[in-house]
Symmetry: D2
């Protein structure tokens, strides 16, 4: 049995431990009847037939290793059916040719939303595929939790924790910009977990006036400081009312490298205070996976290996009601799981007295 493995899209914590989970289970249960190939840099390696044979030692000592030993790259789904520059084939055709040429019995694909669209496409074209849900954004449909999410929460929370002491000492307002372009899970969870006072997520467009009021209310209540957790995909209520095109044009004109600097200026104008900005950036997706992600990826990896043994292809392994279950790729691909603005967690934040910036 020949298995090809690849990791695609933005990297996150737990990719290596997930690869290890799949590989250790396959080697342990199938022994020398299985051969695993590591495809380099995600779909790029599949397109360009760039892969190497792995052996059991390759998967030793990588449980806590950050990043991915296979490398990754972004290969936009919309380019998959376009003719490539260097040949008359599309990227899709090249990938199918690689699978066919090497005779891969199955591809194990780790990735997020974009990755799953392409995985589904491969599946529709007859490739045996099993996928694992990876993203710090937790915005993948069909699973309660993706891996990387908890590790990123831990990092973002630690940053906000530390800001507390300096905010208190100086009586200041701070913005911590948390990753998440389309979904606010990470900002919301990290914000609550670290005691942020105001949480701004893409799903709930913000009003600078409302945020300024929340800051001023805290001051009236004798609080020396306010901390905002702002998702990098935050949008204002004005922007939310725009057409997609107008929004895109407005953002291209935005004279800030990221949204937090704009919000800082808006709040400065409204409150007269200096607002400090912290951008932990890719720090949130690097480094060792947390133990929860190591356990989750191991469970996902074992489950993926078992789907392979059962020749049950076309599924993503997922966590539902605390159980690992297979979910058909057709139910996952192309769907985004965002924060319900009136869900339990947002209501809990409001019950505590936090502002959602609206």
């Amino acid at each position: 049995m020949k298995i090809g493995m690849l990791t695609s899209g933005g990297d996150c914590q737990g990719l290596n431990s997930a690869l290890r989970g799949v590989a250790k289970t396959l080697y342990n249960e199938l022994g020398s009847t299985v051969t695993i190939y590591g495809i380099r840099d995600g779909y790029r390696g599949l397109i360009e037939a760039d892969y190497r044979q792995m052996n059991p030692q390759d998967f030793s000592d990588i449980l806590t290793l950050g990043g991915t030993i296979l490398g990754t790259s972004r290969q936009p789904f919309k380019e998959m059916r376009k003719i490539t520059e260097d040949s008359e084939e599309t990227k899709l055709e090249k990938m199918l040719r690689t699978v066919d040429h090497e005779g891969f019995d199955c591809l194990v694909i780790l990735g997020g939303n974009g990755t799953h669209k392409t995985a589904h496409l491969l599946s529709q074209h007859g490739v045996n595929v099993v996928t694992l849900p990876k993203t710090i954004d937790n915005d993948l449909w069909g699973t309660e939790t993706t891996f990387g999410f908890q590790s990123a929460i831990n990092i973002a929370s630690t940053v906000i924790d530390s800001i507390h002491s300096t905010a208190f000492s100086h009586s200041r307002v701070f913005i911590v910009e948390v990753m998440g372009h389309k979904a606010g899970w990470l900002t919301l969870y990290a914000g609550i977990a670290s005691g942020a006072d105001i949480i701004v997520i893409p799903e709930i467009p913000y009003s600078a006036e409302k945020i300024a009021q929340a800051i001023e209310k805290r001051e009236r209540n004798g609080k020396r400081f306010s901390i905002l957790a702002v998702a990098e995909g935050a949008i204002s209520q004005e922007e939310a009312a725009m057409s997609k095109k107008a929004f895109k044009a407005a953002r291209e004109q935005m004279p800030y490298p990221s949204i937090s600097y704009r919000i800082a200026d808006e709040l400065k104008a409204l409150t007269g205070q200096e607002i400090r900005v912290t951008i932990p950036g890719h720090y949130q997706r690097g480094g060792a996976p947390c133990p929860a992600d190591r356990l989750l990826t191991t469970r996902f990896g074992v489950a993926a290996a078992q789907l392979i043994r059962q020749k049950k292809f076309g599924y993503m392994v997922a966590l539902q009601s605390n159980h690992i279950v297979p979910v058909p790729l057709s139910e996952v691909a192309g769907k985004l799981k965002t924060v319900p603005p009136d869900g339990e967690i947002v209501r809990a934040a409001r019950a505590l007295g936090l502002s959602m910036g609206d």
Copy 2:
């Protein structure tokens, strides 16, 4: 509305953030119509009417604080109905008198198994009770996860992680003793998350011979070291076959301060190797709660406050299928949730090639 709060039994991470979640929600939603009393050292404070009025500031800046600001103590359930030395009352009667005298409209009780038996007893005697599930052991019935559990996993995993490098460098066998007298959740989860090679839990009695064989198999496979994660409640297959009385007698004779030293001696006799023992002990239950526990306790706290507002008493807040739900105390009290020896997680460990020591 007068609310009494207490934390009982062994302390763990997240007690303060849970208290904060309840209090902040009550203060935010009920304002000055609610008064919260902090009962000192668990049921002891209720028995001895030792409590003080809290105010909102008491719950500020405690989100990440380890331990419990209220103190805790162990008050065995079996003594609750006994006449106390200093009076003609039982402990139960004293507690009922305190509730009655102060006019507590509700008690918020944070604790584990023993605590819940007493909470249920109070509820049966007419006290309005809402409880929160606390224990690093995760052995409380009715909830998928207790708070403290993930924080303890993180610590135990970190210890085992670190042992890896020294084990590798020296080609040695190491035992890390993980907390858990009756349930092996913590050992199992931390063991898998940190790549332990052999995991010994109370639910699966161990055979020293089988462990020695697992160590020797690893050596034959060229591995330089083996790491055992052993629950402090580990028992041998011989002991598992004993009567309760014989077991208790045997353990009282055991010339070791804890089980890992005995296993180390057993393995030394079988393999001829020195075995190093690490006992992280109470380190596992101290310090700041991890972000996952801070979020979980906040959600539990908000939910408990809402039960109080709805005058829905006699419930524990619990996590089921990723939702916060109320569970009647009668369904929780006196039941222990242990690791199913053939459940998904144990099967995942075996699929990876780990030994469960049996």
Copy 3:
């Protein structure tokens, strides 16, 4: 004996443990003959006579607490001799009046460069002063190490560590902006400690071309990524050649919220690659002091208390050749300790093959 304590300037890790060290030693050795007053928000509290009597419990449980329990503020030295708006006195006169009115036998002052200028001024006007050297920048003259420095190194290093895995996975160039406006100690130490490839500090003006060449050299050597540690006070070689005035004017026009974004644009123009920027910001000065800073602040605190007992005033406690020594304020005030561009540490970086961006 009446002691006033204050913390001034930017906060950092270790302020509370330093206060604790002074206070515990005074209480332990002088007992009830000493009274300690906590002056709020640095020199502001001294100017406005805003302070409160402390007691031993105030200094319990603060060893690991971030920030400062006394609060802090920035009070520019150059304003000290100016007449204040609300009276005919200068700030200096107001401070002297507070000291005189309360009868403080000694002020214990924790701060960095600006703080020490004012402390020296107070000392010159007859106030008994003992100071402790605080700053994450390590740029205070007269001491090998300031407290806060090692804690900040740890945080900046951890950020850069984590960026490594994502940089490797994606084959990218990353900039991590490290605190330090005038001195590059933090960037240099954290950069070496975390394996940054290119280190840019204020003391060694950078050439964007040279940095681009260093990146390209790494690519030619088969390295998938490059990580730059850039001090927030980094300046280009062009800027270094400017007059102070021209430089200031140029910077006011700079359309970036901080220097790293400009360097990213410069490098993008030269290399054609996207450069990712991470700004950990105040995260670097918040949170618990590391054990090394807790030990150092405790040693400083004990030494300061002993100077007070010996009535040896006008000194800063300092670390020299691993010993705690008193240094006259006149030797400290107004001097900046910057990184020697040809010192051992810079030479070590170059010996390893790192680029200093020049």
Copy 4:
């Protein structure tokens, strides 16, 4: 130029970053004229001629890796001149033969006290040797600080930090046993850094009565708990008065796996309280080096490489007065650096009101 490298004795944090520092500097400055050999498992590999040629990639990505990529072993100095079982040579002769046969121009040796005695012996027999001072115990003569020491302090301090919250919550007495058989540096530094109340080190024999008094004094002062940091080499005042032989005999009879359990029993008898014991054990020497150790090892590594280039052999690189200096092996070998019982740090501990158990 042929360089052999080995790591010997107990492992600790920073071995890999030190190896990297030496290797990167040699490769960077000498290019292809240098060949580095990795000798396996310390002197064992030198005795048995077990080594392999390294290349630059071997030293990539190991800056934060715990343990040693070369492996280590303990080879007692007193056996070096004994005839080995399998030949007519001594171990020393075998090592000299390996050096001669391979033509090593220099050996780079990383180790602690025992290692340095053997390194000196090799040097006396004409081998070109440069050494680096490694040990979490910090007990090596000639250097203010060894690497591994600060990393171990961080871990031991973190354990004691965490015990604080549980100790407070439960009103209990805790012992944390810290590594260090002959020297108390680690216990002393970690104990002060983490706010231990009683510190017991080998250099200051303890009195159980005095410790019990210190505990009781704390209780009288209203403290709910006491935490003891006890070095694993702690000895009682009775034992200190014994002859070496009598002491050894007494210890062989000691029915405890380590000293903390005995002290716990002694204190239980004196105070009537249960004492909880935590043994972090090898956790203290495993895992990633802290940033301070990474910087120190890098500086040591660069300095060692420069001694090699200068053909200055027979030296250990050391830290003195914050400078890296070479120290002749003859001044280092066979000497132990222990804590001066009346030195600054012990006096600081006493000034704070801590008990040294005497």
